[in-house]
């Protein structure tokens, strides 16, 4: 491993829905059923998650529904407030300042300049009342670009890159197929050349051939742009195809982490074993 700073470091991230009680805070092993406290009903969506993402690396996060995968991305993109934990971006204050203590205005700046996110549901990531080009420009406007010609040209390049016919750039993504909507989201997320992309179940709900095209695109972006990515998926096949390293989540905890190949070939944790064998 090189000595370069990780693009992103997440340290001891926890997210709790509910106030928690003495039982689930001090004796989590006995008090929790899954991720929910038997006594107070508090949901421990994430408990002490830590990881690093290195430059150009794709980190896969895999696990069943409700295991906390998306919550990690929501916290990183400031869509949700973590209960505790720290996160550092190499591109923000040289990795010295915790993202989650930044002010609302700074958070917006980080989000608009240093992060790109693709939501599972395009309705969350795109405004269906605007054209595709305006959706992409939104991210650049948010990052203080005020030049229409330049933003339009950049959007055109990104749409070509994501293989959306540019004669449809003024069409609302509402009129696009699911796969095209995801590609518009990817173009939008890439518009400011962020050092890291957050991809949340990007291929879920797409049919297989469209899935393959979106996955191809992600591979190509990785090769051409060299951007680091966090790829959240419940689909091990997607993870196996794209991720260099993988974290396996269950009930808000990291049960296993390592090189993707290693996890696939030689899963250690019983849950991972179950997951891997179910793939066959």
């Amino acid at each position: 491993m090189t000595t370069t700073l990780p693009v992103l470091t997440v340290d001891d991230l926890s997210k709790r829905y509910g106030s928690g009680c003495a039982a689930c805070r001090d004796h989590a092993e006995t008090a929790l059923q899954g991720n929910t406290c038997r006594h107070c009903g508090t949901v421990h969506a994430l408990s002490g998650v830590s990881f690093e993402v290195h430059p150009g690396e794709v980190l896969g996060i895999v696990g069943e529904s409700g295991s906390g995968k998306s919550t990690i991305l929501n916290c990183l993109y400031f869509d949700e407030e973590p209960t505790s934990g720290h996160a550092y971006l190499a591109a923000y204050e040289r990795g010295a300042a915790d993202l989650w203590t930044a002010s609302g205005e700074r958070r917006r700046w980080i989000r608009n300049h240093l992060l790109g996110k693709v939501y599972q549901n395009p309705m969350l990531g795109l405004n269906m009342d605007f054209s595709s080009v305006a959706n992409i420009a939104e991210k650049m406007i948010a990052a203080n670009d005020r030049h229409v010609g330049r933003m339009e040209a950049r959007a055109r390049v990104l749409l070509e890159h994501t293989r959306i016919p540019t004669h449809r750039m003024k069409t609302s993504p509402r009129q696009f197929s699911g796969g095209m909507q995801q590609r518009v989201q990817i173009a939008k997320a890439l518009s400011n050349e962020p050092p890291i992309l957050l991809l949340d179940e990007v291929t879920t709900g797409l049919d297989l051939s469209v899935q393959a095209r979106v996955l191809d695109l992600i591979k190509q972006i990785r090769r051409d742009v060299g951007v680091a990515m966090i790829l959240v998926s419940h689909d091990l096949a997607v993870i196996r195809m794209l991720a260099d390293r993988t974290i396996v989540m269950r009930d808000g905890r990291q049960v296993e982490a390592g090189l993707t190949d290693q996890i696939m070939e030689d899963p250690q944790h019983p849950y991972t074993q179950e997951l891997v064998y179910s793939l066959l």
């Binding site: 605007f130 939104e138 229409v148």
Partner: protein
């Protein structure tokens, strides 16, 4: 004093006036920021100028001279009725002459004659939130203002340029007040936007239905939102001449002649038009 003994001076009770004045003072202290206030039930329907009316009633004194404009004219039904209500509950004199008035309540126009420091302009506002079309939730737009995120206002303009090749805001083109808050200037034509910048008179804006008061104090920087390669432009009035007074370069109404065909133009600001006609009559 009141002509009808049953009403307090200027219709509103003193407690209500004080509440409105408090909101007004806060609005002046934070230019462009929308201050919530407890909009009263008025004898005209919400959406018909109740915000402006409440501001006027909270400010007016027996020595004031009032002018009310409805889309440029002093004589349309709305302007006449608002004047009648205020006159009958205050006894103040009203005037059509912009220069004579101390308080000017207006819907959709800023008078063509530059205002003086001793005058106050009160604009009626239907939708005070410039981000409302991109974000319907008040909870969210307040946070966007707090964090100075005006992306949505620019995306709206960008989308217009993409679809139509140019900005298509007919009226209510958003402005940034003193490099901080983005504000809806009320549905004034774009030609009126520059009149807000570094003006001599206090401008107050009231939205009765939406329960908001905001302000542009005198000598405040007001810039219309624009892009580097699409600078702000007001309506093109070149080549239009008022058929009544002969004025050029002012905002005009387009009049269609249904019987004979053809279009003609007349000044939208009727009191200025009348003043020009009177001046012509005197000299000829």
């Amino acid at each position: 004093m009141s002509r009808h003994g049953t009403y307090n001076f200027a219709f509103l009770d003193e407690g209500s006036k004080r509440e409105i004045r408090r909101a007004t003072l806060k609005a002046i202290a934070i230019p462009g920021y929308q201050v919530p206030f407890a909009s009263r039930e008025m004898p005209i329907a919400r959406g018909w100028g109740t915000g402006g009316l409440q501001l006027t009633l909270s400010l007016i004194g027996p020595d004031d001279t009032l002018k009310v404009i409805d889309q440029g004219t002093d004589e349309s039904v709305n302007a006449v009725n608002i004047k009648a209500l205020i006159r009958s509950t205050t006894g103040v004199t009203t005037s059509d002459d912009t220069a004579e008035a101390t308080l000017i309540q207006s819907r959709h126009r800023i008078p063509d004659k530059p205002l003086r420091p001793d005058q106050i302009l009160i604009l009626q506002v239907p939708i005070p939130e410039p981000l409302r079309f991109v974000e319907p939730r008040e909870e969210v737009t307040r946070r966007l203002h707090a964090e100075r995120d005006y992306t949505g206002a620019y995306v709206l303009l960008f989308e217009q340029i993409m679809r139509h090749g140019d900005v298509t805001t007919g009226a209510d083109h958003p402005v940034e007040v003193h490099d901080r808050y983005v504000m809806a200037p009320s549905p004034i034509p774009r030609i009126d936007n520059p009149k807000m910048d570094h003006g001599d008179a206090l401008i107050l804006l009231g939205a009765g239905r939406e329960k908001k008061i905001y302000a542009v104090p005198p000598h405040t920087r007001v810039t219309s939102l624009a892009f580097d390669d699409h600078p702000f432009r007001s309506e093109d009035v070149d080549g239009r001449t008022c058929e009544l007074c002969g004025a050029e370069g002012v905002f005009m109404d387009e009049i269609q002649d249904a019987q004979h065909g053809g279009t003609s133009f007349r000044c939208n600001d009727t009191s200025e038009c009348l003043a020009r006609m009177n001046a012509h009559a005197r000299t000829s």
